[in-house]
Each structure stands twice: as structure tokens, then as C-alpha cells.
């Protein structure tokens, strides 16, 4: 039961109303959680995005258990070592599936049709995952951590980052690893997934237009594009099948 029972005026000054209307306009429920996908989503390569999320879930869950008992626990109990192993293999699986996902998305040129930000958020997620792993490695409190910390410090010091990011400072590295960097990764993944939901999975290359596309200039500075400004999938026409089970899409969605 909304406190504002009558619909708000279009130029409402309420931050809440404006936020809600913008959110719902960008991602109405049937777009946020569609129960259908375009028929061209028909390849195993498409599961590697959700596999990356799954690996992240395994990493965060096992990492949370390690955090419950503190950093010394896994060195002297079998069950602690068990969860540390799951955490380590989760990380190996995460990078494995994430890179296969990246390869697939590159060869699909998945940035097309207004999906540049999808690519950018995905690429930045990978690049942030690397120091997230590094801070984990230097937080292990074993020989590997000693070696990695004393080596990595040189690269970081050389570019000045070492002045405020000290890999030999366990307390700092543990904080970055357990809180700050996972928050960054999760926020980036959330933005990435919401952008995919907003713009839809990138359509295939059009074969008919392939020759025209190949002939066109590839240099930076080409300015023509035929995609609509936000590149989102157009509402299906009356002759096409709408997403199964969803109401006819409206421009503002429900919820106002």
C-alpha cells in the first residue's frame, strides 16, 4: 500500500518517486526477470556468464565461512583446510569460466547495439578480480603469501601505488580482500547483469548486411549507427511472439 495512493504528478519533486519511476522505466519486472530469451540464445557458450556468477557465489560463501573463524583457523583444522580448498578451487573455476565467457562475448562482438557499457563493466570486473585474488594470496599467512607479498611490492611501489597499498601489511590486505574488493566485484557484476537485462542479449550478426559491414570503415571516428539510442530490444509487434507469460510491455512499466 503506497503512501502516495493517487499517481504522482510527472514532475514530482519526491526523490523516492523519481527514483522508482526511473528504475521501473529502465527495468520493468518483465525485463528484469524475463521468462523467455530470443530464440538465438541457443548455445552452451551462453551459460558461462551465469557460471561466473555461480563461481562468485561459491567464493563468497566459502570465504564467509573462512571469515567466521578468522585467518588462522584453516591452518590447524581439517575442516578449515577443507573450506580453504573450496575457496581456492572456486577462484580457479571463477577465472576459468569468466575468461571462457569473455572469449565468447568477444567473438560475438557483444558490445554492439548500444551494449558498450555491458562490455566495459565486464572488462573492469575482470581487472578488479585480479587484485581481489592478489589480496587473498597475500592474506594466506603461509610461505606463498610471504613470497607473493615481497615480490608484488616491487611492481606496486614502482608505480607509486605501494605508498598507500602495502601488500606486506596483512591487516590492510585482509580488509581489502574480505570487504572492499568483493564489494567492488559484486557491484560491478550487478551493474553488468542489470545492463544485460536492460539491453537484452546481443542479436546475431546480420548475414545480409555482413558485406556492407565489412566494407565500412573500422577506424575510430565512424559515426553512423542504425541502432536506436539505447539499443534495447524493441517491443514485439503484433505479428511476433511476445515473451511468454509476460504482459504487453509498456514504455513505463508497472508500479507507478
Amino acid at each position: 500500500m503506497s503512501a502516495t495512493s493517487p499517481p504522482a504528478a510527472p514532475s514530482s519533486k519526491s526523490w523516492t518517486v523519481r527514483t522508482r519511476e526511473r528504475a521501473v522505466a529502465a527495468l520493468p519486472p518483465e525485463k528484469l526477470l524475463p521468462d523467455g530469451q530470443p530464440t538465438y540464445v541457443a548455445s552452451w557458450i551462453y551459460v558461462f556468464g551465469v557460471a561466473s556468477i555461480a563461481a562468485l557465489v561459491v567464493i563468497v560463501a566459502s570465504g564467509s565461512i573462512l571469515a567466521l573463524k578468522g585467518p588462522a583457523w584453516w591452518h590447524y583444522t581439517g575442516i578449515g583446510h577443507f573450506f580453504n580448498s573450496i575457496h581456492m578451487w572456486g577462484v580457479e573455476l571463477f577465472f576459468f569460466v569468466m575468461v571462457v565467457h569473455l572469449w565468447g562475448k568477444f567473438w560475438m562482438a557483444a558490445w554492439r547495439g548500444g551494449r558498450t557499457r555491458v562490455w566495459i563493466t565486464g572488462a573492469i570486473t575482470f581487472l578488479v578480480a585480479v587484485p581481489t585474488a592478489l589480496t587473498g594470496y597475500v592474506s594466506q599467512q603461509n610461505f606463498d603469501a610471504q613470497w607473493i607479498a615481497t615480490q608484488a611490492k616491487d611492481g606496486l611501489n614502482a608505480v607509486g601505488v605501494g605508498a598507500f597499498f602495502n601488500v606486506t601489511n596483512f591487516g590492510q590486505m585482509y580488509s581489502w580482500h574480505v570487504l572492499l574488493l568483493p564489494m567492488a566485484v559484486i557491484a560491478l557484476v550487478a551493474a553488468h547483469v542489470l545492463l544485460v537485462r536492460r539491453h537484452g542479449v546481443v542479436p546475431p550478426f546480420s548475414i545480409d548486411d555482413r558485406k556492407a559491414a565489412l566494407a565500412s570503415s573500422s577506424a575510430a571516428g565512424a559515426s553512423s549507427t542504425t541502432a536506436p539510442p539505447n539499443g534495447s530490444p524493441a517491443p514485439p509487434t503484433s505479428t511476433e511472439t511476445p515473451p511468454p507469460g509476460s504482459p504487453p510491455p509498456t514504455s513505463t512499466g508497472i508500479g507507478s
Binding site: T39, S43, W44, I45, G78, H81, F82, V100, T241, P244
Partner: protein
């Protein structure tokens, strides 16, 4: 440590390496990279389930 003895395969010995010119990669890393390439190829080659359902959708038999 008892839990390490419990692992089916003990990997706690110095790694073997694959060496070529100036490239020196551990066998474990080569296996990982090789598996990634194989999995990528399988992912784009293996048929994805639901082809009949998608074909029916295209024909307009499903709503």
C-alpha cells in the same frame, strides 16, 4: 597435516614444467589453459538443448 593426507592426489611436490624457448609454464597451468580452450570449443560446437521448443516458437505454435 592429516587433511592433506586425506586428499586423493597429493600435489605437494615441486611442479613439473613445460619449457619452450623462454617460456616455462607449470604443468598444472598448462592443463588449466588447455582445458579452457577445449571447453570453449565444446561450448560453441555442442548442440544446446531445446531446439525443438525454439523451432516451435519460431513457427508460432507456442504463445
Amino acid at each position: 597435516m592429516s587433511v592433506l593426507a586425506a586428499a586423493v592426489f597429493n600435489l605437494n611436490h615441486p611442479a613439473h614444467t613445460v619449457d619452450w624457448e623462454f617460456i616455462h609454464l607449470s604443468v598444472a597451468n598448462v592443463v588449466v589453459i588447455g582445458l579452457m580452450l577445449i571447453v570453449f570449443l565444446l561450448a560453441i560446437l555442442l548442440p544446446f538443448p531445446g531446439a525443438a521448443r525454439r523451432a516451435a516458437t519460431r513457427r508460432g505454435e507456442r504463445s
